[in-house]
Symmetry: C2
Subunit: 345 residues, 2 copies
DNA sequence: GTGAAAGCGCTAACAG
DNA sequence: CTGTTAGCGCTTTCAC
C-alpha cells in the first residue's frame, strides 16, 4: 500500500538509458545529448523522482549537512544566530542539524560524539566552556578529519579554528566611558563567567574605562554573574541595597539585563532616574515595551550568517588553512536614555 | 595528512574477525562470543571507530533524522517548541534537522521539497497556512511513504495526520468570562489570522463568552490581527483612541500582546487601571519585568515533547494508523492583575 | 555521448 | 557463534 520512492534504476528503465546517464542529468554534469536529457527529465517528472541524498553522501563521501551546536535554544540570542545560519545554509543547499547542549559540558560531550556518526560537512559551535579539554579534543579531531569548525561568540584555546566574535571590549569600554562622561562616578558591573572570552573581555572593557578615567572601582561594585537572569537579579538587588549604591550598572548580557530590570522594578526604582543601566546585547522585547534601555549590541543574525559564511569558504578551499580566520564584527553603542545621570543621584 | 575515519573493515581486520561480527557487536545484536566482543571493542577503542550513520541509513533504508519545520525561529514560542522536540529526540537517539519557513508559503514549498531528498524518519511541522493545497499534497506524500507527519499548533484539512494542539477556545472563553465577571462590559479582541485553527478558535472563545453573557460586541471592538507585533500595535492604538474605548483587550498571541503593551505604554495608560489586558501565551520576559500580564497559556515545551512523542509512537507502530491521533493539551488561565477592572473605568 | 562496473560503509539473510 | 555475500542508491572512472 505505502508507496516507495523511485530510485535511479527505475528512472533509467523508464527513460531507456543507463543509470550513469540519469546521474549525469541529475547533476547537471558532463555533456548529455539533448535527447537523453529530455527523456530522463520526463521520467523524473512522471515518477516524481527525487535523488536520495543519503546514497549520494555515501557515494561521494561527503554530506550536505552542517551541525549547529548552541548552549541554549531558548535564549533569543541563539535564536537569532540560528536564523542567520539557516538562512545562508538553505541558500546554499545545506541542511542544518540542530544540537542543544543546555549549557552542560556533559551534554556537549554526548552531542559531539553523536555528531561524529553523521559525516557532517562542517560545524558551528558556541562551546559551553572555553576550558573544556574534552570539547577541544573532540573539535580538533573534527578539524583533523577535514570537517571545518567555526566557533561562535565563545572561543577555545586553539588558533586552528575559524571564529566569529565581536569587539566586546571596545563596545563595553565606550559604554562605560559614556556613563562616566555623563556624570556617573559610582558604576557597578555584573560580569559574565570569567572563564569565557566574552565574560573576560566585557569586564576588561569596563575596567579599562574606569581606570582610564580614574574612577574608583570598589570591590562591592564588581559582581560576578553567570549570564543568567536569576543570578543577575540577586546581584543587582544586592547592589541597589548597598549603603552606597551605584548610580549605574553595566550588565554583561541580555539575561543579565533582564535580571537587573527585575531587581530595579521590584525595588521600585526608576530607570534612568534613580538608577542607570547599560546592557550588552539588544533585546527586541524591551524596545517594543518602550523601555529605552541603552545597549552595546551587534548584529546577531549577521554573526550567524558569517559563521556559515566561514564554513562555506572552507568548503571551497581545498587545503585547510593552518591558522583559523578570526572574524571580528563591530559592537555598537545605542543610547536610549537609561544611561542618563538622573537628577536625583 | 588529514586523518580518515576508520571503517568496519579496518576494525574487522584489527580484531581478526569478519565485518559481520563487528556489525553485530556495534548493534548489540545477536549473540557474539565474549572473546570476539572484547577483541572488537579493543579495536574500536584503538582506532577510535564510530560507525557511519549514512551507510547504516542507506543499508537499512531508514534514517534516524527527523525534520522540524517552524515558521519563525525567532519567536520564543517556537524556540520552546524546538527545545521540547530536541530534548526528546536526543533522548531517543534522533537527530533534528531544522527548517525555517519565515511564514512564507513559497519557502515552505522549497523546504518540503528539499526534505524529500533526505530520507527523514518523521516530520514535525507548524504549517505556514492551513489552506495551502501544495503543503497538504507534499505532506500527504510523506505520509504515504510511511514518513509520519505531526502537525503542531496549526492544523490542516486532512484527518490523516497526527497533531498536537491546545484547548484554545476554552482557554480564551474562560479568560473573557473572567473579564466579564470582573465587571468589564467593553471588551475588545485582536484576533489572529482567521484562516488558522488557532486564530478561529481563539476568536470563537471570545465570542462564546460574550454571547453567553450577552455582552455587546460592537464591530469596532473586533480587530483582525496577523499575530504580528506591528499590526497588533496599530490595532491596539486605534482601539484605545476610540471615542468609547474598550476597558479590556484580549490579545490572541504573544506578539499581539507585545503590540498591545507597546500601544498602551505609548499612550501613557496604566495596565490594569486605565486598560485591562489578557493575552494568549505566556511571555517569560514580561514576568521577569514584573509586568503582571494575565494570560491563557499552555506548556509549550511540552507541546514540542508531545509532538516528538507522537512521532516515536508511529515509529514503534508497524501499520500506519488510518486516522491521525489528535492530542489536546489544556490551556491554563493565569491571572496576574492586568485583567482587573480599574477604579477609573 | 553513453554504458558497465566498481565502489562508498554498513546490514541482514544465509550457510556453515 | 561466525563468515560470506548480496544489496541499499548513487557517483565515477574507464572503455567504447
Amino acid at each position: 500500500m505505502s508507496k516507495q520512492e523511485a530510485n535511479i534504476y527505475e528512472i533509467a528503465k523508464e527513460a531507456g538509458v543507463s543509470i550513469a546517464t540519469v546521474s549525469r542529468v541529475m547533476n547537471h554534469s558532463t555533456s548529455v545529448s539533448e535527447k537523453s536529457r529530455k527523456r530522463v527529465m520526463d521520467a523524473v517528472k512522471l515518477l516524481n523522482y527525487v535523488p536520495n541524498s543519503t546514497a549520494r553522501s555515501l557515494s561521494t563521501s561527503q554530506s550536505m549537512s552542517i551541525g549547529v551546536v548552541v548552549p541554549d535554544i531558548d535564549n533569543p540570542f541563539f535564536s537569532k544566530i540560528l536564523q542567520g545560519v539557516t538562512l545562508l545554509a538553505e541558500e546554499h543547499g545545506y541542511q542544518v542539524l540542530l544540537y542543544n547542549t543546555d549549557e552542560s559540558v556533559e551534554k556537549e560531550q554526548k552531542v559531539l560524539r553523536s555528531m561524529r556518526e553523521h559525516r557532517l560537512r562542517g560545524i558551528v559551535i558556541t562551546p559551553v566552556s572555553e576550558h573544556s579539554k574534552e570539547t577541544l579534543v573532540q573539535l580538533r579531531s573534527f578539524a583533523e578529519r577535514s570537517i571545518p569548525v567555526v566557533l561562535l561568540d565563545r572561543e577555545l584555546d586553539d588558533p586552528c579554528f575559524d571564529r566569529v566574535v565581536t569587539e566586546d571590549e571596545d563596545g563595553v569600554y565606550r559604554a562605560v566611558r559614556s556613563l562616566i562622561q555623563g556624570g556617573h562616578r559610582r558604576i557597578a558591573v555584573i560580569t559574565g563567567p570569567q572563564q569565557s572570552r566574552t565574560g573576560k573581555e566585557r569586564f576588561r572593557g569596563y575596567e579599562r574605562a574606569m581606570e582610564e578615567f580614574r574612577v574608583p572601582m570598589p570591590r562591592e561594585y564588581i559582581r560576578y554573574g553567570d549570564y543568567r537572569m536569576q543570578c543577575a537579579y540577586e546581584e543587582a538587588k544586592a547592589l541597589c541595597q548597598l549603603p552606597q549604591p551605584p548610580t549605574a550598572i553595566f550588565s554583561s548580557n541580555n539575561m543579565t539585563t533582564y535580571g537587573c530590570l527585575k531587581a530595579i522594578s521590584e525595588l521600585g526604582l526608576r530607570l534612568g532616574e534613580d538608577i542607570s543601566l547599560i546592557g550588552f546585547d539588544d533585546i527586541d522585547a524591551l524596545n517594543w515595551l518602550n523601555y529605552n534601555v541603552s545597549v552595546v549590541c551587534r548584529d546577531v543574525k549577521e554573526m550567524g550568517r558569517r559563521a556559515m559564511g566561514l564554513l562555506l569558504d572552507c568548503f571551497d578551499r581545498e587545503t585547510p588553512a593552518e591558522e583559523g580566520h578570526r572574524e571580528v564584527l563591530p559592537a555598537e553603542l545605542i543610547l536610549r536614555g537609561s544611561e542618563r545621570y538622573g537628577h536625583d543621584l
